[in-house]
Every structure is written in structure tokens, then in C-alpha cells.
Subunit: 339 residues, 2 copies
């Protein structure tokens, strides 16, 4: 009888505490990925170019097709590797001819990028459709002029047919349409995690240690920038209370107002190294650095560990991905050019 009372008491305590915490998390601006497909679709869809299964399939092929690069060796997936947290694990992006990103910028993850309010570190791209056009053309990334990309795709009958199936027989396959189709695929790359289940009401989805971490995350103010569905993705001032330790690496200074896109914390465990220049590999160190330069506090080891434990609950389930078989080039397809 005594034991049962104790169990009941603990359960009630836990539930009450859990409910309070998830309520607190919501009040701090943390938003779950919904559980229903229709609610998700509403969040990720592009009204001008609605998501369809056929479009996703075509976009996936293009995402993985290295012929979208001048060399024919680099695909979107090279730097945004869907098996590696949607990024490349490098400090600085490496592209065509092994060029290092001229601003020493790190490749951000493509997973959940649809939830960002803007794209790219300086927020120059309004959405994924806009962003997808950039790296394909950039000389230090894929280095492929629009004309070359269109030539390669339209020289491959299987691609032409697939575009027709997706968009209708009158479709004009231009560079924008190719980028738009890649973006449709990218929109679907979302990764619900245990934290979403927790926020949606299942209190037992997080352990007590993880709940403590969440509590600390909120109390210290991390959620003032890392909020929303993406736990980031908005433009924020960087280095508010202290100078970033590696501010001398690269010439990146943010947008015209010195604002920097806050990276998502979803799958953060898988996307080291951290910060725009990828100079910090340790998640715990990154947490402490954020405390120092954004919050003006010294986060002790215990709290950093606790927050880290919580952040690992944001490692999400990746969409099942059947590796695409790409249609073969033809004699007319512009040859790879590695120079």
C-alpha cells in the first residue's frame, strides 16, 4: 500500500513537472513538428509549386546528380550529405577544384532547412528555391553556369520525360525549374525527434536528465534565438556580449546589419563542426562559447553537459531514402569538365 502510494506520488510529480516543462518550452517559443501529415504538408509546402510525390522523386534525382556540377563530380549531396546529418562534417566547404569557401563558411545542414525564415549564413536567400540556385553556379562550389545545367538535363531523354510527367508536356526546362524541383525535395527533409513527441504531450519521451537540460536551456536564454520549429533559422545579432573566439577566421561579417542566420539545433549532434566558420568541433565547447558571446554568462560544465544531453534529443528520424538510379548521359550530354 505504501509502495503503491509512493509510485502514484512519483508519477503525479513527474507528470505535473513534465506538463509544466512542456508548457514552459512552448512559452519559450519552441514549437514541435506536428504529427499529422497534413499539418506537416501545410508547413513545408510551396503554394506556387505544390509538393507531389513525382516532384519529390525527380527532385531527389537532381539532388544526387553530380552532372549538375561543371566537373560532374559534385552533387548537392556532396556538401549536404543526407547520411551525415545533411552536412559535410568539414570546417569549411570544399568545392570545384578543391577550392575552399572564400569566406571560410561551413556547409549548413539541409535537414529542416525548410523551417528557416531565410537561407544561407547571411540570409541572402529567401527560401530553398532561391538558395538552390546559388551553389550550383558558384565558382567555388559546383561551378556550373545555368546554360550548362540545362544542357546536361535536357540532353538526357529520361529526365525530359520525367519533367513532362511532373509538370505537363508544355514544361520549359530552365535553370529555375531545375532548382525549384530540387527545393521541393529539400522541403520534405524534416526529422521529427523525441523532443517533438515530448512537446506534443508524451512526457515520458524525455528522461529526467534531458528534461533538466531543456529547463536549463530555457532558463539560460538559449531559446531567445534558438526557437520556432527549427530551433533557429532567423537572423540574429552575433557576438552580443563577447567576441567570438574564432572571429578572425574568414572575412564573414553577416548581412548588412551584421546579423547572422541562427543555425538549427535539430540534429546538432550530427552536424559538427559548429558556427559559420566551423571552427569548434565539440558541442559542449560550442554551448559554452554561445553562453559567453551571446548571453554574457559562463556556462559551467554541469549545465553544458545537461544542455548537451537535451540537444541530443533533437536528433531526428530521417526520411527513408532509396538511393536514386540516375538516367545515363547520352552522346549529346556536355562532357565533365574538371578544369
Amino acid at each position: 500500500m505504501k509502495l503503491i502510494s509512493l509510485v502514484v506520488a512519483i508519477s503525479i510529480t513527474t507528470m505535473t513537472f513534465g506538463a509544466t516543462l512542456s508548457q514552459k518550452a512552448k512559452e519559450a517559443g519552441l514549437i514541435p513538428i506536428p504529427s499529422s501529415k497534413s499539418a506537416i504538408l501545410k508547413l513545408i509546402d510551396n503554394l506556387e509549386n505544390p509538393i507531389t510525390d513525382a516532384k519529390i522523386e525527380l527532385g531527389k534525382k537532381l539532388y544526387f546528380d553530380p552532372r549538375l556540377s561543371k566537373s560532374s563530380l559534385i552533387s548537392c549531396n556532396t556538401c549536404h550529405n543526407l547520411g551525415a546529418g545533411g552536412a559535410d562534417g568539414l570546417s569549411t566547404a570544399i568545392g570545384h577544384k578543391w577550392q575552399v569557401n572564400p569566406h571560410h563558411l561551413n556547409s549548413p545542414t539541409v535537414y529542416n532547412a525548410v523551417f528557416n525564415t531565410v537561407q544561407s549564413w547571411n540570409g541572402r536567400n529567401s527560401d530553398l528555391e532561391d538558395q538552390a540556385q546559388g551553389p550550383i553556379q558558384a565558382k567555388h562550389v559546383m561551378a556550373a553556369p545555368k546554360k550548362l545545367v540545362v544542357q546536361r538535363i535536357t540532353s538526357i531523354p529520361a529526365y525530359v520525360n520525367e519533367f513532362k510527367n511532373v509538370y505537363g508536356n508544355d514544361i520549359k526546362i530552365d535553370f529555375k525549374k531545375i532548382a525549384d524541383t530540387i527545393a521541393i525535395y529539400e522541403r520534405t527533409l524534416i526529422t521529427p525527434s523525441r523532443f517533438d513527441t515530448f512537446l506534443l504531450g508524451k512526457e515520458t519521451s524525455l528522461t529526467q536528465v534531458e528534461k533538466d537540460g531543456l529547463n536549463t536551456f530555457i532558463d539560460l536564454g538559449c531559446g531567445s534565438c534558438h526557437n520556432g520549429i527549427g530551433f533557429g533559422g532567423t537572423m540574429q545579432a552575433f557576438g552580443i556580449t563577447g567576441k567570438y573566439k574564432f572571429s578572425n577566421v574568414g572575412d564573414f561579417k553577416g548581412d548588412t546589419n551584421a546579423m547572422v542566420k541562427t543555425p538549427t539545433l535539430r540534429n546538432i549532434e550530427e552536424t559538427a563542426p559548429y558556427f559559420h566558420n566551423g571552427k569548434i568541433y565539440s558541442l559542449k565547447e560550442a554551448i559554452k562559447e554561445m553562453g559567453r558571446i551571446q548571453l554574457g554568462i559562463s556556462i559551467n560544465n554541469k549545465d553544458a553537459t545537461s544542455i548537451e544531453m537535451f540537444l541530443k534529443t533533437l536528433t531526428g528520424k530521417k526520411p527513408k531514402l532509396i538511393y536514386p538510379i540516375l538516367p545515363p548521359s547520352t552522346d549529346k550530354t556536355a562532357k565533365p569538365n574538371v578544369l
Copy 2:
């Protein structure tokens, strides 16, 4: 009645012709990929390290893991892209720091490589296990010393656990075991095609035009080198009756006897450009060049087209591949090094 007789007569003719042709093909040394799983396993298995599902899964992860390269940017799949016929579509392989293969050698396909009697263009590797060790270490490919590869893998607990699950708790994860596990995955990369169905008895698997092409292929003598299950994969003299058009590209001269590994013709439609130095992109041109330098004949356009039609029946069904989610690095994992 008359019509029925005619249909019967045509059927018998076709069957007789088909049976004769498939018999002729077998006599010319062409061997189908068997249809039964157990027969296939017998052909592809490694008796010292037998294929298991768990081993395939681990091997697949390693095959796709760019952390096996010094830079952490190049995986086996970079040059042997399973979405692109198992090769890279480039004339010459490009590796670490964008280095061109010093001998101007083309990346051969990994699909059906298990059927090769030897591996690599000069046949220096006895099997896939042996071959897998080469490019990982080669300075112009993945540039990763054995020690670095072992450090990266053993620094990742999920990998260590998976090796234990696959090989038992006493497993010593060394470089050889890592390469052996990759090779196990590669052994399973076989692609049965319509031609196999034909050779196994279903005469209607090939069209008349394709049968004509097969007939020409055999009559001209192509099968004297391109035979066996792999339609190639043995060491043969190169340039028997004429000098190869691009013999001045690269310093490759074959093995010590000037023999060169005959590439497989399976999926040849997907693996342009052709020859050890990848200088010919057109399949028809490659067929004609082979006639000139290996058979001492001029293959006319009609015959080359016909053979090409037949060769396209060797484009096989790829194993369904669920893209692997790689376990994240830890603070202990040796950092990427792009220099």
C-alpha cells in the same frame, strides 16, 4: 485456321532461332547470372568471410562513409557512384585535393566487379577485399593512412558496436577488416538484366534487333575477350591488331606482360567514357575502335548500331539501396584534413 497456322509457324521459328542463338551465346562463353539466390550466393561469396545481412549493412555504411578519406569528403561511392552505373562518368578519376589519377586511369564500375577474375586495370588486385585497400590509402584518391582509418572508425561507438555485432565481441577492428567488410558489400552489387533472362531460356526477353546484335557480337569475335558472367574481367592483350587511338594519354601500359583487364560490358550504357583512360565517350565509337585494335576489322555503322542495341540489354536491375545513415563522429574522431 490459316492464321493460326501462321502464328504457330512464326512462334516455332522464333523459338528455334532463339534457342539456337542462346545456345550459340553459351558456346561463345557467355554465362548468365543465375536466377536463384542460392546459386548467386555460391558465385559471389567469400568463404573465409561469408556474406551475412549484418555484414552487408555495415559494409554499405563504410562504402558511403567519407570519413574513410583523409579529407572526410570522399567515399568509395564518390568515384564508384551506385546511382551512376557504379562509376563516376569522368574521363580520369579525381581524388584528394582534386588530383587527377597520375596514370590517367578511368574509374571502373563496382557493379558486377565480383565476377572479375582480377581487379584494377593492370590486374594487380586478386579480389575485391584486396582492391578495397588500395584507393583508401592512395594519395591521389582518398589519401588516408591505415592508422587514420582505424582511428576514425574506432572513435565512433556505434561503429564499434556494429563490428562486434557482425564479427563477435573479440573482433579487432583493423584496416584489413574494414576493407574486407566493404568488399562484402561490393560482392552483392550484381545486376541481372534482360540478357540473363534470355540466356536462361526466355527467348522473348530480347527483341529481334537485339538478337541480331548479339549474333553479330559473337560472329565478329567480341566474345573472345568479353565473356563469362561479367562479359569481361580477365587479363587480355590490348591493341592486338592496331594501336589504340588514345594510347598517348597517360603512361599506363598494362601489367608486366602488357595485359589489361577487360572491362565488364554489363551496364556499359551507364559507364561512359570508355577504355582505361576514358577518352572515348560514344559507345558506338568504342565498339568500332575495339574492332580496329582488337579484331583487325572495320565494323560498319550498321553492325556497330546493332551491337550497341544488344549491349543495352546488359543494363541491369540494381539492388535496391536504402541510403545509410552514418553514425556521428565524436570529440575523439580525427578531424577532417583537406590539405
